[in-house]
């Protein structure tokens, strides 16, 4: 066997080895391996540091460019916030009333959640996998499949957990589908990524809607709670365009996500509370099962 043949055989051997590794490690992973965990734990503060530098630089220049617009937006937001505060207290009252009435009627308790804040410290640079890294891990109680949200809506779910950081699979990743419904008409369907939609990355589409489904541009799409990963009622996005699927049998719609996935800075991990925590006065996000 000459040297060239040995080299080619060696490369082929490596290719087979890597393909086998992909096959065995590409599935069934919920936690990093010990070595990966060690590296991620050591590097998450460094990632956070660089992320902050990037964020501040970007915000600084954005602030100069958008100064007038930011001032105007700030005024509007202050007015909106004042109005929302009133609504917030009304909702709390209604929530309490709802608990009392459900208890009186003997309804099953709703599952309740608390929100664990986390910072985005890194983002997957490839276009194939839409994941971000956050600075909370299993040491903070984070587990695989916990939902991740922002104040605007649903971001995704925890995919891999290390001690002090976790990887979050975002809604725009092509490997996922979320059970969802149209808030106005309550039509059930599934959320997936838009294929080839005007070259714009990050759009979603709702598919498997029956032909008679009542859906129109501007409708809000929310999580349905089916599947057990995402609580019901989290905003996914707004319908941009409605049309037939490729076979012309069912309807589908393009959705603009409620969350700006390119500018994620802070997120919340939705942590399910054990039943006894409910009465401790914590502010919770209820979800009907």
């Amino acid at each position: 066997m000459n040297q060239t043949t040995r080299k080619v055989m060696g490369i082929l051997g490596l290719i087979i080895l890597f393909l086998s590794l992909i096959f065995f490690t590409g599935k069934f992973r919920s936690r990093y391996t010990f070595a990966e965990d060690l590296i991620m734990t050591g590097l998450s503060p460094v990632q956070g540091f660089f992320s902050q530098i990037g964020l501040r630089t970007s915000t600084f220049f954005q602030g100069i460019v958008d100064y007038e617009r930011v001032l105007e937006e700030n005024k509007k937001l202050k007015i909106q916030l004042a109005a929302r505060e009133n609504v917030h207290y009304q909702l709390l009252e209604l929530q309490k009333e709802n608990y009392r009435l459900r208890e009186m009627l003997g309804f099953k308790e709703r599952t309740e959640y608390s929100l664990l804040p986390a910072e985005v410290i890194a983002r997957d640079p490839s276009y194939w996998f839409e994941t971000i890294t956050i600075n909370k891990g299993y040491a903070d109680g984070v587990e695989k499949d916990m939902a991740v949200v922002t104040s605007s809506g649903l971001v995704g779910n925890v995919m891999l957990v290390s001690r002090n950081s976790s990887r979050v699979l975002m809604l725009t990743d092509s490997r996922r589908a979320v059970s969802a419904l149209v808030q106005r008409s309550r039509e059930p369907g599934f959320i997936g990524i838009v294929e080839g939609y005007p070259g714009k990355k990050g759009h979603l589409r709702i598919i498997n809607l029956p032909p008679e489904a009542n859906i129109q541009p501007g409708d809000t799409v929310i999580s349905s709670g089916l599947g057990g990963v995402f609580p019901k009622g989290l905003v996914i996005g707004h319908v941009l365009q409605v049309g037939k699927d490729q076979y012309g049998l069912l309807q589908q719609a393009i959705i603009i996500p409620a969350v700006n996935f390119n500018r994620l800075e802070e997120v919340f991990i939705v942590v399910e509370l054990p039943p006894e925590k409910k009465d401790e006065g914590e502010e919770v996000v209820p979800s009907e099962e």
């Binding site: 490690t25 599935k27 990037g54 294929e195």
Partner: protein, 182 residues
């Protein structure tokens, strides 16, 4: 005795070289995942690690190229890979091609590595696209990905190499990747 000394020296050099590659890869991955996401141009984010791998493989030739690709790919797998071995394979082949190309192209003229990076980017992206499709399924068609992702990224890498290759070339000239312990 002479053989033993040569053997130890060779290992020490190899050790420092691979340690330098590991450290450089980690620094680039940290910058890539955090700082670079704020400098996306027209929706395209460059793969700094791929540029580093191709430049170093181009400078050092195909003998070291495979090891550079595997080390860099493995660290990328730990940071971002959907599975261990995914970027190892893609980066190894990219590095090998760059190493082979260096036999035919002058290393001290910038246009050679720029063209190499441009074409190797295509190969790397096609491997990633194929592996993704095979193991998890693609939602993009090949032609869509070619037009929207591969070509813009290859052009971006082509331009960035103009600035980054001289850095790696000078670092190599000044023995940055195998410093002496004296």
């Amino acid at each position: 005795m002479k053989v033993k000394r040569w053997f130890l020296l060779r290992n020490k050099n190899h050790f420092t070289l691979y340690l330098s590659i590991i450290i450089s890869t980690i620094i680039i991955m940290v910058i890539q995942g955090s700082l670079m996401t704020f400098f996306i141009v027209s929706g395209v984010i460059p793969d700094l690690l791929l540029i580093m791998v191709v430049c170093l493989a181009f400078i050092w030739g195909d003998k070291r190229a495979i090891m550079i690709g595997i080390i860099a790919g493995f660290i990328q797998d730990v940071f971002w890979g959907p599975a261990i071995g995914f970027f190892c394979l893609a980066k190894m082949i990219a590095a090998l091609l760059a190493g082979l190309a260096s036999h035919e192209i002058y290393r001290d003229q910038i246009i050679g590595p720029m063209i190499t990076v441009f074409f190797v980017t295509f190969v790397h992206e096609i491997i990633v696209f194929s592996l993704t499709g095979f193991f998890w399924g693609n939602t993009f068609s090949f032609y869509f990905a070619l037009e929207k992702f591969f070509l813009p990224r290859a052009v971006y890498h082509f331009i960035l190499t103009m600035f980054l290759y001289p850095l790696f070339y000078r670092a190599e000239q000044h023995n940055f990747f195998y410093p002496s312990f004296k």
